[in-house]
Symmetry: C2
Subunit: 461 residues, 2 copies
């Protein structure tokens, strides 16, 4: 058979096997593998075991590997072939509270017909069991047609993604030689808003900081002390107000070092997406973009850095009123980072700035939370072009390189520890209700997701 | 007998009767009249009954008067004499929690010898049963010497002062003719810091406001929306930072209208007090006065207006970190007002200012809390000079007119509803631990307090 014919055969095999594949996904979704809840630790392991058995069944050398937390599932196909590729997904799921907002039990999946097509509804259907199984079904169909799995694949499926992945980095470090590949495929993202296939190639970094300012050694009566004693809430407001100028630009010295302008290819791709920032905001009850002027909306969320106050507290916040002058006040703030911005330098600049705002008789303390630089994938690697074309063929419209305003730590970890870029390709939709009651995954996403991976495997072979 | 001899006789009578007076106070303090705790409602009434009986015993026409809350005790001496004088105190006390921080039961009073003299220790000893009884003992001794009470006195003792006085204003309105006098004597304040006798003649007013800014209709993911969506905490910080300029001056248009400069007599009195703002702040772990430059410390707390943030909350404030972009944020703020500042105009100016800080697609709501102008007593009324001189004679050092940074609502209520000024004279000391465990009142305060009132009664007669 010619390569093209073989690919057609794999795709036909996937189509013919869709009902059976949905049966397998249903079985997987019945396991309540909630990683944050210690009561479900046995279920998390059961999900790992189920997955390991599936992978062995289609010829992988698969094992469940213990960690200090929940286990990893690691699997290998035969070595050889072209470049090594690592596939990553996670088999744990979010908690289901509040249970009374679910229309049916979250771990009793059904296929439902909806106005926009058939969906499979259950916790984890989209995030990430359904997406992860698009890999597995593609490998299964490949094996059926080719008689063997694609060579040189490594699979890594995690059971702690929804609880902060505490074991992941140590596991990557300890097993670096086994896991290192030339590129990683991560299936935990979505189609672009209008359903267009997309590869995420830019991820913003993150640096977070909790600040506490202490003034008096107790809460004071504002009648006795007001006018004389420092008010830590006022100090905090003044300092945080000074973080941006009137145009929304962040004022920290050196903050924009390494930010850079968007490459022309991405700018054109993004313009082509027709993102309407006002309409986007209307979904959440707003309509006016804030921030720097003269920037495309997508630039603002994908390739420009931000400073946000995430939380703030101090003084009396209960019912009614207390005319207290608080002894201390706190804020949690975070920066989204892009390009070559250095979290360590920005942390130093921010802490210096904040210290300078605090009177000598007050005290400021910092509790840093995370500090990861932005990730940019090297899209000149031909794998990107090949995957982009494969996605375009499957979905009948051009795939696009997009950014992500959030941080996807695994992509940074793969760069840091294993020295490899990631291709973030997923088929979730904006209305999948991940992390919320009544999560679903479109049967179309599942079926065409698996077909997409078959095409990408063929393109990379 | 000449007037002077009679006063000496009253003072001698008070000295001779001190032990018996302390016995009576002890009995009064045994009644746990905690007004905020419904379980103690019977005790509050018992304290009212006890007081009413005491007053009848020395010749007052005294009654316990029901209100929707705890009762008032109202008493009258024979009409006639010079000007009518109203005496005010309160017979309810603060709760005693945390009980384990008391060295002995709070309602089992004892006289203790301490390094600074004998004290009577119990909840309410200073606030306000001991102070209130300085009136009663002065009247008793007066009666013993003169054969009758001073004429034209009205007594009003409240049982809800520690729970916000909900029944007071309606009671004043309904009984205005019965209660109106030419001046009120309120015994619920203290000696000046160094033990100098003082009459409080200026009280700051108060206007409080709770502000809520709503942006998105939910908390947003700062990765998805950060850079585009309005952050209500940032809006609030910017707005509250703009309330003061770099010199600490409040920037609201018209804010300083009606503030005025301190009269020369008060300035000289206050300078004479030798207040050391830095030392005052050192008691609470600070050392540097904030606020307007070139103002005396006492001016800052007594006769200059303030703006303070009393509480602030929004976004994620729990353990760890959530990169949320909050849907809403709130602050509680208050202004201390002086001179002729008009709470209604300042409220309008503040709300206008805040509204102007909020983008059109966000919403701001206000919940006002209180709005009372400052009170200034007319110290050209000769009663002030007479009382000041009487206090000076009793305490052996010049009495002084002072201010109060806090608001004492009863003084404003007497001005508003009964059209009379108040003389706030009290004998509490800074270390009396009012509202705290191990409250005490100096026996010296009690004894010389009663003697002070005897002198003031004589001076006003």
């Amino acid at each position: 058979m010619a390569e093209n014919d073989r690919l057609d055969a794999v795709l036909a095999q996937l189509d013919a096997g869709l009902d059976a594949a949905l049966e397998r996904l249903t079985e997987f979704l019945r396991i309540p593998s909630i990683s944050t809840d210690p009561a479900h630790a046995g279920d998390v392991r059961a999900a790992a075991d189920w997955l390991c058995n599936e992978l062995r069944g289609i010829g992988f050398d698969a094992t469940v590997r213990d960690t200090p937390g929940h286990p990893m599932v690691v699997a290998h196909s035969q070595p050889g072939g072209g470049r090594r590729v690592l596939f990553y997904g996670h088999y744990d799921v979010q908690p289901v509270d509040p249970l009374d907002l679910w229309d049916r039990p979250p771990f009793d999946p059904v296929i439902e017909d909806t106005a926009s097509g058939a969906v499979i509804r259950a916790r984890g259907a989209s995030d990430d069991k359904g997406q992860l199984m698009t890999f597995v079904e593609a490998f299964r169909a490949w094996k059926a047609v080719h008689g063997e799995l694609p060579r040189g694949l490594t699979l890594l499926f995690e059971g702690e993604e929804e609880s902060g992945s505490p074991s992941l980095r140590p596991f990557l470090v300890e097993n670096a030689d086994e896991l290192r590949a030339s590129i990683a495929m991560i299936c935990d993202t979505g189609l672009y808003a209008d359903g267009r296939p997309a590869i995420t190639t830019m991820l913003r970094g993150l640096y977070g900081e909790e600040i506490t300012i202490r003034a008096a050694d107790r809460d004071l009566h504002s009648g006795m002390f007001g006018g004389l004693a420092a008010n830590p809430l006022q100090i905090l407001c003044n300092a945080l107000a000074g973080m941006k100028d009137a145009t929304g630009r962040i004022t920290l010295p050196g903050f924009y070092d390494g930010v850079g302008e968007l490459p022309a290819e991405l700018r054109s791709d993004w313009q082509d997406l027709g993102f309407d920032a006002a309409a986007f905001l209307e979904n959440v009850g707003l309509n006016t973009p804030i921030g720097e002027r003269d920037r495309m909306g997508l630039e603002m969320v994908w390739s420009r850095p931000t400073f946000e106050i995430n939380g703030m507290s101090g003084g009396y916040t209960g019912e009614g009123f207390k005319t207290v002058l608080p002894g201390s006040a706190s804020a949690k703030v975070s920066f989204r980072l892009v390009g070559d911005q250095d979290p360590a330098r920005i942390k130093a600049a921010f802490q210096d700035y904040m210290r300078a705002q605090v009177p000598a008789d007050c005290e400021i303390t910092f509790t840093p939370h995370g500090g990861s630089p932005a990730s940019r994938m090297n899209i000149s690697d031909p794998a990107f072009g090949a995957a982009k074309q494969a996605l375009g063929e499957e979905w009948g419209r051009d795939a696009v390189y997009i950014g992500s305003g959030g941080s996807i730590p695994i992509a940074g970890d793969f760069q840091d520890i294993l020295g490899m870029d990631s291709m973030l390709i997923g088929f979730a939709r904006d209305d999948d209700r991940i992390h919320s009651p009544n999560e679903k995954y479109d049967v179309d996403s599942f079926a065409r997701g698996a077909r997409s991976w078959a095409r990408i495997l063929a393109a990379l072979a």
